[in-house]
Amino acid sequence: MNLDWSESQELLRKTARDFFARESPPAKVKQLEKTPARQDPDLWRKIASLGWLGLPFPEKYGGANGSFLDLVALLEEMGRAAIVSPFLSSVVLSGDLLLKAGSDAQKERLLPAIANGSAIVAVALCESDASYAPDDVQLTANLSSPLEGEELSKREPSALRGEGASVPPWRLSGTKLFVLDGLSADHFIVAARTKPGKGPAGISLFVVDATSPSITRAPLASFGGEAQAEVRFDNVIVPDDALLGPLHKGWPLVRAYLRRGALAMCAQMVGGAQQALDMTVAYAKQRIQFGRPIGSFQAIQHKCADMATDVDTARYLTYYAAWKQDAKQQNALEISQAKAWLSDAYRRVAREAQQIHAGIAYVDDHDLQLYFRRAKAGEVLFGDADFHLREVASLLKL
């Protein structure tokens, strides 16, 4: 048992905190939020130069072979600084999907590029329901029209027929919503229906060049600050080797993606909640009303105590789930517990932070609003409390 960070993790935390304070102060974050793509190439290059974009990748792909807890350390500081970047999408999630399911060629092509910052990869999952349920995946991936006399049943893609065989490319049609970092992405990992229907069967993943002229992208200006986009695929032709992972059986990968995304969000949210608490405590100590610091009023003290309890419980639920990940233990339950808790806890913390700051933080450019808005977005992204409570109930075998 050891609840301390390792020395190298402490160094990473400190480096990250100093770096973000210097390179991505709140004023800059707020400026960035006003741009459509919400991506700062300059900041991204600097992050890349620190080696963080390959943190979780094996060394052979230009990575640092870091643990999930290393990622947590970094994500927490990102959440604390409320930075806006495609780190989660590209490094934590797309990178992991490629590592898990990519062919050697896919990995060699994309992972080093992600790690050196030259490629941003984003996942396109949600559609009109935006519910993270398999039924929401309705974008179709069809094989190109059959050659004369050819039977469709023979037109299995090479993944099923062995390497080298060539088949006509896939055609993707549909609209994805809430594609995180969808405007800055160079590639998409797209969840598509390779068999029509509902439910988890028949869903496959494809790696798609985001610059295809048949792709249209538009920002969805989430008030949470994260870079959301609507992405239309209008009969986008992708080659057969774009298939990522098994044909028709991509949903388990999506589930893994959602879980990893939820846990990574938790780490960011812990950092953000801690920052909102720290700002509030500092304010309550210096703000004088009725001749006393407002932090001396019992009502304020008790609110702060509850906020601290939310932060501490959220922190350890997150660390525990992350530790299990590194220990290669089943942690779906712990992830859903942490995310369900944080979805509410961060919002509670941010809400009380606003109440204690009162008017001064109701001004649009007050730094606290970053956290108020991040808390609400974090609550919903990768499954809200209700979603994860249902998961918990199932995992408890209720």
Partner: protein
């Protein structure tokens, strides 16, 4: 015990409702987001005031001798409720704060100068109360007014002076006596916003609308514009606040938000069925409906007490606290029901209820500290209402 509205009350309510349904276009209703602070919203409000004046509905609460309708408290509540349901609240500060205070405490000259203008919607006011170091502890305000000949000379800084950029007058609280305990040395002034020395700096809020910081640099105000008696300003402000909390807070907006949320739940498919058929959503909306009813009943109680000439003290605070905290729960529930679509503000494609849900979530942050924080309201309920010791 009788909760029924009288025939006259029902008639007034129906008349109001029919009028508003006719006069307030649906697209304003559905796009009311921050409109009150927007250019187009302002223009609409100005036009709308003329129609209210035609209907003699501008100064419903005032005595007839000042151009009012002398409507009883319950009808005032109905008026405020219906108007706020339709998101029209013309001349709120003038009607609800300045007017009633002048009627009770103003000099004859002040009444004659200002009341007819207010009643005709010809003049707008901003409130100059809060200062950077005087929020909940308003009595510690430091903006000072020093007597110089026939004038008072005002120096200081105010914050959250909403509407200062487009108001004709400021209803300003300033310290006229430095030597007495803090709430005893405050006076209230009617300051023409065109007076030299006033500068206005915008502050954009989380909800997107504009408020202001105002700087007061040797602003000269004639002594005749000191309201009522010198050093009595604190009592005037307190009286106005009590009044404002009850009848004219825009609680009808919450009902509109609730109704729209219900419409959203019924009309939005999620997972193959309307949101309103999801058990979690049903439970949440049902719970909100109860708080909605409870809030209305607290409002009715306060108005009824006023109508009986009983002074609601803790009852007004309870209403204010409950309604504003309910508003946060309501808007939060809306966000939770809308999911990712709730993250999108007004103007973004796919925004839930055209961004209403998102706007209200951002807006609802404010009322639990604006106009007396929930913490102060609880102090009042405990001390004035339950008699607990200070």
């Amino acid at each position: 015990m009788d909760f029924a509205y009288s025939k006259q009350e029902r008639r007034f309510q129906k008349e109001l409702h029919d009028f508003l349904t006719k006069e307030v276009p649906t697209d304003i209703k559905s796009r009311m987001l921050g409109q009150i602070e927007s250019e187009s919203g302002q223009a609409f409000q100005r036009d709308f005031i003329k129609k209210l004046i035609e209907k003699k509905w501008m100064a419903v609460s005032w005595p007839k001798e000042y151009g009012g309708q002398a409507k009883p408290a319950i009808e005032q509540l109905l008026y405020a409720w219906e108007l706020s349901y339709f998101h029209v609240s013309p001349g709120q500060t003038g009607m609800s704060v300045v007017g009633p205070t002048l009627i009770h405490f103003g000099t004859e000259e002040q009444k004659q100068t200002f009341l007819p203008m207010i009643a005709r919607g010809e003049v707008t006011f901003c409130l100059g109360y809060t200062e950077p170091n005087a929020g909940s502890d308003l009595a510690s305000l430091q903006t000072r007014a020093d007597r110089d000949g026939d004038d008072w000379v005002i120096n200081g800084q105010k914050i959250f002076t909403s509407g200062a950029d487009r108001s004709d007058y400021c209803w300003l609280a300033a310290r006229t006596d430095q030597s007495v305990p803090k709430h005893k040395g405050i006076s209230m002034f009617l300051v023409d916003m065109k007076t030299p020395g006033i500068s206005v700096q915008p502050l954009i809020t989380l909800a997107g609308y504009r408020t202001n910081i105002t700087y007061w640099d040797n602003v000269r105000v004639p002594a005749s514009r000191l309201v009522g008696e010198v050093n009595r300003g604190w009592y005037y402000a307190a009286a106005a606040l009590d009044f404002e909390r009850i009848a004219l807070f825009p609680w009808g907006r919450l009902e509109y938000e609730f109704d729209e949320l219900v419409r959203y739940c019924k009309g939005t498919m999620r997972g193959g069925k309307p949101l309103s058929k999801h058990p979690e959503v049903r439970k949440r909306v049902a719970a909100l409906s109860i708080e909605m009813s409870a809030m209305k009943l607290l409002a009715v109680r306060a108005a009824w007490m006023i109508g009986r000439n009983r002074i609601p003290n803790y009852e007004a605070s309870m209403l204010k606290m409950f309604a504003t905290e309910f508003q946060q729960r309501l808007s939060n529930a809306g966000m939770q029901i809308a999911g990712l679509f709730g993250l999108l503000p007004d103007g973004a494609p796919h925004a839930a209820l055209d961004g209403l849900i998102n706007y209200r979530y951002r807006y609802a942050v404010m009322p639990t500290f604006g106009g007396g924080s929930s913490e102060l309201m609880r102090n009042i309920i405990a001390q004035r209402g339950l008699g607990l010791p200070r």
